[in-house]
């Protein structure tokens, strides 16, 4: 353990080696390959635990990676309290997800590829949270994105999965490009790429450049964490296998944006503009995504928009400087949202459908799934004493102090949160079964992870003070007034949904019109992006190719060629077969060339 605390880079190297081994030995091991792959998240968890207990200094490792002339760009790792916490979260969730997947993916022909990618993802995610500098961070950041791309498109024969994969990569890559530029501007100003340097940069950069660098890095965080205006890839990402959604697109990778801003809090707090934008983006996204979540008919889409909304809560906290609160909510959210996704996976496994209208009454047929789901739902809704209540309370209280408007926005989003999760719970687990399959409880390999995560969803609230102390801040007491209001709102939202969906799906929602249709369609954002961004770019590229490249540029070149051939016809007149004439031409040409060379070289 002390060895791991001193050498945190092992949390990257071991999963990487495991991923390679899985590829090499995959066929020989058969189904057992999953157990080999689980060594990867186990090494993250072990390192994280070791770092929680051990000293947080003296374990930095930094190696020169790009060295030329006076430029020396190093990459390195550094295991501090925040990294330790993230490693534990990622390790636990990834272990549970892999275990769940043994059952969920049992019959898939891509079994080995699946576990190899999950091991690779563990390595990249470890690199992301341990990165000591922006280059190591960017490398890991893009590699988790590539794993996400490959796993969303895991069932690549399905056109919708292939389209969702490319969409996720491109939209987040827009953010990555901003990050790249931010890193470059910071590097030029200070000659440094270390995170420590960036945290203390505002003094050297000045307000203007600090704001620019912070906003560019924020663009990366917005893309990764699916915040407005780059939020629209995440709902499509649900095309991936459900355990992947739980791990990558709920608990860990999408939280990387929150992690990044938390890591760079001094930079963001030094710029009122940058932190204001973080707050506005977070509060707006939290509410917007919650309104969309209430109208979804696909259980995974409800959870996807819920994730966008909850990440918005975290961004809002970051915007007012309460980064420890944001990380606390990140931890509890990882637990209860991974639980809800795996619960949804269990339901999908049992019913063969993702549509809430095909479910109903599953509490009797899948009791363990139902109980654990309800624990997750109550935690998400912020009902005491479950984990989500505590973390959401510190987030909302901090945001209310910083900006009453944003705080009220979050309270409204809390109301909607309780509504949509109560709606999904009622439609899936209560009433009568409306589907055609014969749902049955999943095997222990799947319900076991649900149970573990449910324990987290119920009890993690108690870990709040410990987490805040780990992140070097004094724990705050519960703000009773905020707590009471928030709980009352949540109860109101939940009870209303419970009453409204008592008789199963509301028929009007099946063929939505007006506001409900707008909500269900995500306000038509996807279509607008397609119409105003994707199609114009493609049309421009096509037009530029036909008219610009072929007709004009190449046309000019070919035209010169034809012209030369005609001139050649004229010049052929010079070829009259008279040797003296040729000699005279050669002589004149030589004199001209030599004269030109002499003139030029004088």
């Amino acid at each position: 353990m002390t060895a791991l605390a001193a050498q945190p880079w092992l949390a990257v190297a071991v999963p990487l080696a495991v991923a390679l081994l899985v590829v090499v030995a995959g066929r020989a091991l058969g189904a057992g390959v999953a157990w080999l792959a689980m060594v990867a998240p186990a090494s993250l968890l072990a390192t994280g635990i070791a770092l929680l207990g051990g000293p947080h200094s003296g374990n930095a490792l930094s190696i020169p990676w790009l060295v030329q002339g006076d430029t020396s760009i190093r990459v390195g790792v550094l295991g501090d309290g925040l990294a330790a916490l993230m490693l534990v979260v990622v390790g636990v969730v990834a272990l549970m997800v892999m275990m769940f997947s043994i059952g969920y993916m049992a019959d898939d022909p891509g079994y080995t590829r699946y576990f190899a990618l999950l091991a690779l993802f563990s390595a990249a995610m470890a690199g992301l949270v341990l990165a000591a500098d922006l280059v190591a961070l960017l490398v890991a950041w893009e590699l988790v994105g590539a794993c996400s791309y490959l796993l969303i498109g895991f069932w690549y024969r399905k056109p919708s999965a292939a389209a969702a994969a490319i969409k996720a990569f491109l939209v987040t890559h827009v953010g990555d490009a901003g990050m790249l530029l931010g890193i470059a501007l910071f590097f030029v100003a200070t000659g440094d790429v270390s995170l420590a340097g960036l945290r203390s940069a505002p003094a050297a950069l000045g307000t203007g450049l600090t704001t620019v660098v912070a906003l560019l890095l924020l663009l990366g965080a917005i893309g990764k964490s699916a915040q407005f205006p780059l939020h629209f890839w995440l709902p499509d990402a649900m095309e991936g296998p459900t355990p992947v959604s739980a791990l990558i697109h709920a608990a860990t990778m999408v939280a990387a944006g929150v992690f990044l801003i938390a890591r760079l809090e001094p930079l963001f707090q030094a710029s009122a503009t940058a932190s204001g934008v973080v707050l506005a983006v977070g509060a707006f996204t939290a509410l917007m995504a919650a309104t969309i979540a209430i109208a979804q008919s696909d259980i995974k889409k409800v959870l996807a928009y819920s994730t966008i909304s909850q990440l918005g809560f975290m961004f809002a906290a970051l915007g007012v400087g309460a980064w420890q609160a944001a990380i606390f909510h990140l931890v509890t959210h990882a637990s209860f949202k991974a639980l809800l996704f795996l619960g949804a996976g269990s339901v999908i496994h049992g019913t063969g459908s993702q549509e809430l209208s095909d479910m109903g009454g599953l509490a009797k047929k899948m009791p363990l799934t139902a109980v654990t789901w309800i624990a997750g739902a109550l935690a998400l809704a912020g009902i005491p004493p479950l984990a989500g209540f505590f973390s959401k309370d510190v987030v909302v209280a901090a945001v209310l102090r910083g900006s009453p408007l944003a705080g009220l926005t979050l309270l409204l989003a809390s109301l909607l949160t309780a509504f949509y999760i109560a709606r999904a719970t009622r439609l899936a687990f209560f009433g009568t079964y409306r589907g055609v399959a014969h749902p049955h409880e999943s095997r222990w390999m799947m319900t076991g992870p649900l149970t573990v995560l449910a324990v987290g969803a119920v009890f993690l609230g108690a870990a709040g003070p410990a987490i805040e102390r780990l992140l070097l801040t004094e724990p705050e007491p519960i703000e009773l007034g905020v707590a009471v209001v928030a709980v009352l709102l949540a109860v109101a939202g939940g009870v209303f949904a419970w009453w409204r969906y008592a008789g199963g799906p509301v028929p009007a929602e099946a063929a939505p019109v007006g506001l409900w249709a707008a909500l269900k369609g995500g306000y038509g954002y996807d279509g607008a992006i397609r119409r105003w961004v994707v199609r114009p770019v493609m049309a421009f590229a096509g037009g530029a190719y036909e008219l610009g490249d072929r007709a004009t540029v190449d046309g000019a070149a070919e035209g010169i060629g034809r012209l030369a051939r005609r001139l050649g016809g004229l010049l052929a007149l010079l070829q009259n077969g008279d040797a003296q004439w040729y000699a005279a031409l050669i002589g004149a040409a030589t004199v001209l060339l030599v004269a030109a060379a002499l003139w030029a070289g004088r």
Partner: protein, 472 residues
Amino acid sequence: MPWLTLLIALPLAGAAVAALHSRVLSRPRVVALAFALAELAAASYVALTHAHAPLTEQLGGGYWRLTLDGLALPLVALTALLGVVAVLASWRVEHAPGGHFALLLALEGSVMAVFLAADLLLFYVAWEAVLIPMYFLIGVWGHEDRRHAAMKFFLYTFAGSALMLVGLLVTITSLQTTAMSERAVPATVQTLVFWLLAAGFLVKIPVFPLHTWLPDAHVEAPTAGSIMLAGVLLKMGGYGMLRVAMPLAPAAFRAAAPILAGLGVVGILYGALMALAQSDLKRLVAYSSVSHMGFVVLAIAVATPAAIGAAMLGMVSHGLVAALLFLLVGLLYERTHTREIARFGGLAAQLPVWGTAFTFAALAGLGLPGLSGFPGELLTVLEGAGPYGAWMALPAVGVVLAAAYNLYAVKRVNHGELPGEWTDLADVGSREAAAVAPLALGIVALGVWPALVLALTGPAAVALARVLGGGG
């Protein structure tokens, strides 16, 4: 042992044997492979033993001056590797194989001479000598419209090199020597010399708007021709800028740097947009070359030691990635006789090895960290932000477009349902895998450990940047 002369002579000797051999025996490809492997072994030996001190050779007291330093070594190694890959890629050539392999080896030897030349006249002769085998490879072994493409390739680059020749003649008369050195030409003629030389180099790279020979040449070229063309011939342009134009005309180069940077950025964006619009897979890869070489031109324009290192990284990376992509497209064409993207789909299921390699190559092409494209592009943007600041947003946009055209290609070729006509395609065989594997390994090795190139280029890059900074 005159190693550098050997590096040039070995492939040329192989060319002669392959040409003669085909009249006597029926296996010129075995001869070609043997010589290409011997060349790779020789290049590896030289690289390992002389990595840290420039090696020079002069035979006969005349123009045969050769040198191998940190700028030449990575490209010599790349050329030797791609020589083997190109031979393996053309294993099944049926039409006049003796001539094909002889030309391929002659091409390799000529390119080696370009990278090793330390004499302006030798450089010019080697430069022009490269054209001839490439012309015939495209014109004789190419596809439907091969004659036009070959002539276009020839005339375009010949026009460029004619201007380059005048530049070289002016240089030689003003310096009174043909030997390359760190001496610059007089200030009065620097601008003239620089742009005359640049004309030859920029056509070769190629830079917008001088690029339209490239897609035509690639589409019509046989696979081995495309591999050598994209892998090493384009690098001659970048190498010429660094080796010849910069030291001969440093002041003129400094004055031209913003223009070159602009050409680089335009190339990045323009190539990427054109790639996005293609319906022919090989043409798509060809335009992606324009985009990647745009990064190299931008790095050259920035011209700090690290940027010169980035340009070298970019050239070696593109050599590996473009060669892999053209190889894979060629393997697919051998099986399907089409390059029409719309006719593909779902190939990852039918051809798992080919499909995995294609996705891998596309990820390398979009500059994924861990693969070879990333370090060079990152370093280019980091160094470029010094002189050009927020303008680096444009190459950053290029990075997004690169992701778009690469992944759209993967989606349309690899994903979705397999069309009925391709249900009996055979996956990559062992001889083909032997060509794919070294490229893939090189892409990973360079991506993880870019010092493989940077450690070689360091001293030369510092020296070159000093020449630029030193005025004259």
